[in-house]
Symmetry: C2
């Protein structure tokens, strides 16, 4: 693209570094900013910079938090013996939205993915293994995405904590509520038959 202004070109180039935003979308966003009051762009710039420079992570679960201990970890009403292993804050938010879980979380910060150059050393795994080896955890719930990377990460952690006295569970895979059987993929349908539960249990949830 051939821009008539260096300022515009710089802004577009910086915006298009973000994932899923190409040059055209970046230009559209930047031109939108030009039509809005100056303060709006200043506020956006300030919010992004402040967030990036001052963000904190909970020292217990590694979730994003403004305090040293996040609200969930600081809540005495939650069961700290139950730890749900998730990839990032979006998963914490999704599970919290269900109102079905009253335990703690452990945010890994990603999944093992050799293709993207992410190894176990880049994730918050040692602190999780420490918690387990210290006997602080009774149940570890694996709640990573059901992908190759998610399964690899689950298995890696499982091997690390093998031998310690902890119950490892994983969230149920099966047919989504409201889905038609005929459109379900074979693997999911197969697993949902293998892992069937008593009908009475399903009535309660």
């Amino acid at each position: 693209m051939d821009f008539s202004s260096k300022l515009l070109e710089n802004a577009v180039n910086e915006m298009s570094q973000l994932p899923g935003i190409g040059k055209r979308t970046a230009l559209r966003l930047v031109l939108h900013m030009l039509k809005q009051p100056q303060e709006q762009t200043s506020q956006l710039a300030a919010a992004l910079e402040k967030m990036r420079n001052e963000i904190n992570f909970c020292k217990n679960c590694h979730n994003i938090s403004d305090l040293t201990l996040c609200e969930i970890c600081a809540n005495p009403g939650r069961n700290e013996k139950q730890v749900c292993v998730v990839e990032d804050i979006r998963d914490v938010m999704a599970i919290e939205n269900t109102s079905q879980y009253r335990g703690h979380y452990h945010v890994l910060g990603g999944k093992i993915s050799p293709m993207d150059g992410i190894g176990p050393g880049d994730l918050n795994i040692p602190s999780l293994v420490d918690k387990v080896s210290n006997g602080q955890v009774e149940e570890l719930i694996f709640a990573l995405s059901s992908t190759m990377e998610g399964d690899t990460t689950n298995f890696y952690i499982y091997k690390q904590i093998e031998g310690f006295n902890v119950l490892s569970t994983t969230i149920a895979r099966g047919i989504s509520v409201g889905d038609e059987l005929e459109y379900a993929d074979e693997v999911t349908l197969g697993r949902s038959i293998l892992n069937r539960i008593p009908f009475e249990t399903s009535l309660k949830s």
Copy 2:
């Protein structure tokens, strides 16, 4: 959405003010920034703010430019008697990419759109009428999008310059190069038959 951090919430809220970016996308973008070096976010914030505060518009054609006169208007090799009326800088860039036009532009900064509260007074129309009434323009080429708003704007300007000695033209509407006839809509196909050109002319372009 329930965020565990005010800083994160602010950044997401500001990002989701941009068109086409919802809360989920904003969160994805902001979390991406957290995984990148701090400097990258600083550079983005600085580029946006600098662009918004220091941007200039060419005093002749109203295109975005770092100087008082844009490169196109300052180029003595271009025909200033020919003026192409466009909506914004993206259209200038698109036409420049074709390398088929060697005249000047006039950037309106939008289209007349009562639904969005944009009237003729919000656009750069008076300076265009001035140029025409001063006899500076021989041909005015309308190159707005072929929508209700575009047609309204074309017609409004046409009425304003009626009576002045200027040739008004509009870019050709027709079947796109490479398109199959059977998939073309009726209006476009109808217009392309009405506005047919000598076969010899088509061989030259």
